[in-house]
Symmetry: C2
Subunit: 198 residues, 2 copies
DNA sequence: CGTATAGTAGAGAGATGTCTCTATTATTAG
DNA sequence: CTAATAATAGAGACATCTCTCTACTATACG
C-alpha cells in the first residue's frame, strides 16, 4: 500500500557510486545524488537518514561484491592455482566493474564516510572476517604455518600487488595485455617458498 | 623593514601536512591549520591567497623531496642495482618521512586540491618530467627498448609495487623486517628479461 | 471509490568552511 | 625617534552542504 517507489535504495547507491567514480569522493553530496536521479534532496532523506549511511551502505555492498569471487578463488585446493585465480579475479572484476573498483582502490573507508553509522556497526566489524580467515588458511596451507611474515607476504601478494595494478585497468580503455601475466609473476615471486637468491 | 614573520611559509605547509597525515585530507582546513599554529585564519591568508595554494605548494614540495633520492637511485649504471636502489629508497624514505609518504600514497592530487592554482600551473606541468625521462632511460637500458609493455612493466616494478608496500610502513611502529626483501623480489621478478614459466 | 499509506517535493534552518576587510603591532631604515 | 612597512589579529560576509519540516501525490486495499 502507498505509492510505488520512483527511486529505489539501489538507484541511490548507484548514483552515489557514479559520482564518486567520476568526480571524486567529495562530489557525492546528497544534493548531487538527488540531481543525478532528477529528485529533490528530501526524497533521498526519505530512504537514508544521512549521507554517511548512503556511503556506508554503498561501501558494504561494494566490498561484498568484490569479496565473493575473491573468496571463491582462494578455495582452490592447489595453493599456487588459488593465488593465480585470486589475482585474476581482482583484475577481471575491476575491469568489469570500473566504478566500484575505482572506489575501492582510490579511497579509504575513512575518507568516504566521516562517521560510520551505528546501525551498520556490526556489518563493519565482521565485513573482513571471512577474507581474513581465508587468507590465514591459505597462508597455513601454502607456507606450512601462518607467522607475521608469511601472513604479511601473502597479503602483499594476494591483495596489495593486485590492487596496485588496478590503476592500469581504470586508466585505459582496456587493460594492457601484459598486465595479468605481470601481476601473477610478481605475486608468485612473493609467495615462493624457497629462499630466493639475494 | 616590517616585523619579522612569526609563522613562515614552511610552518604553514608543515601544519597542513600534519593535519592531512593525522586526520585526513578533509581536516586540513585553513582554520585548522591556523589553530595548529596558534594563529587566526587571517594570518594564513597573508601568506597564501587560497587553501588550494597551500596544498598545491605542499604537494610540489613533497613530490620533489621524494623524487630526489629516487632519481639518484636510477642513475646507477647496472640496471638491476638501480632497480634495487630505487625500491629501497621508496621504502626507506617513507619510513623516515611518514607523514609525507602517507600523503603521497593515500591521496591523489585531485583529492587534495580542488582547483589547481594558475600560478603553479607550470610547476605541475613539468613536475614529473624528470622521472618520466629517467624511467624511459631505465627501460631502454634494461629491456633494450621502451615499448608500451616494457615501460608499463617498469613503472609497475619501480613505482607501483613499492608504493603498495608503503602501507605496511605507515601502519606499524617499524617496518617489518621482511618487507624490503619481499618488495625487491616482486619488482625484480617483474623486470626479469627472460620469459618466465607460465 | 475512498481512505490509509508510502513516497515525492522543495523551502529553509543551522553548521561549517573560505576568503575579505579593517585594525593593530612589531621591526627596520633613516 | 619616527615613519614606512611587513606581519598579525579577528570579525564577519558569502557560499555550500546536511538535514528537517510540511505539503502534496500516487497507489493499494477494502
Amino acid at each position: 500500500m502507498g505509492r510505488t517507489a520512483k527511486y529505489t535504495d539501489q538507484d541511490i547507491l548507484d548514483a552515489a557510486l557514479g559520482l564518486v567514480a567520476e568526480d571524486g569522493a567529495h562530489a557525492a553530496t546528497v544534493v548531487a545524488i538527488a540531481k543525478r536521479l532528477g529528485a529533490p534532496s528530501g526524497s533521498i532523506y526519505h530512504r537514508f537518514v544521512s549521507r554517511d549511511l548512503i556511503l556506508a551502505t554503498l561501501w558494504i555492498r561494494t566490498v561484498k561484491r568484490f569479496q565473493q569471487g575473491f573468496l571463491e578463488a582462494l578455495l582452490h585446493e592447489e595453493s599456487d592455482t588459488a593465488a593465480r585465480l585470486a589475482v585474476t579475479h581482482t583484475l577481471q572484476w575491476s575491469a568489469a566493474h570500473r566504478s566500484e573498483a575505482k572506489m575501492l582502490t582510490m579511497y579509504r573507508r575513512e575518507d568516504l564516510i566521516a562517521l560510520w553509522p551505528d546501525e551498520l556497526g556490526g556489518e563493519l566489524a565482521t565485513l573482513n572476517d571471512e577474507v581474513k580467515r581465508s587468507v590465514i588458511a591459505f597462508t597455513a596451507a601454502h607456507f606450512g604455518q601462518a607467522t607475521a611474515e608469511t601472513l604479511g607476504r601473502t597479503r602483499f601478494a594476494l591483495i596489495e600487488i593486485p590492487y596496485a595494478a588496478v590503476g592500469h585497468i581504470i586508466g585505459s580503455a582496456q587493460p594492457p595485455s601484459w598486465l595479468e601475466h605481470t601481476v601473477a609473476t610478481a605475486s608468485l615471486a612473493v609467495l615462493a617458498r624457497q629462499e630466493p637468491v639475494r
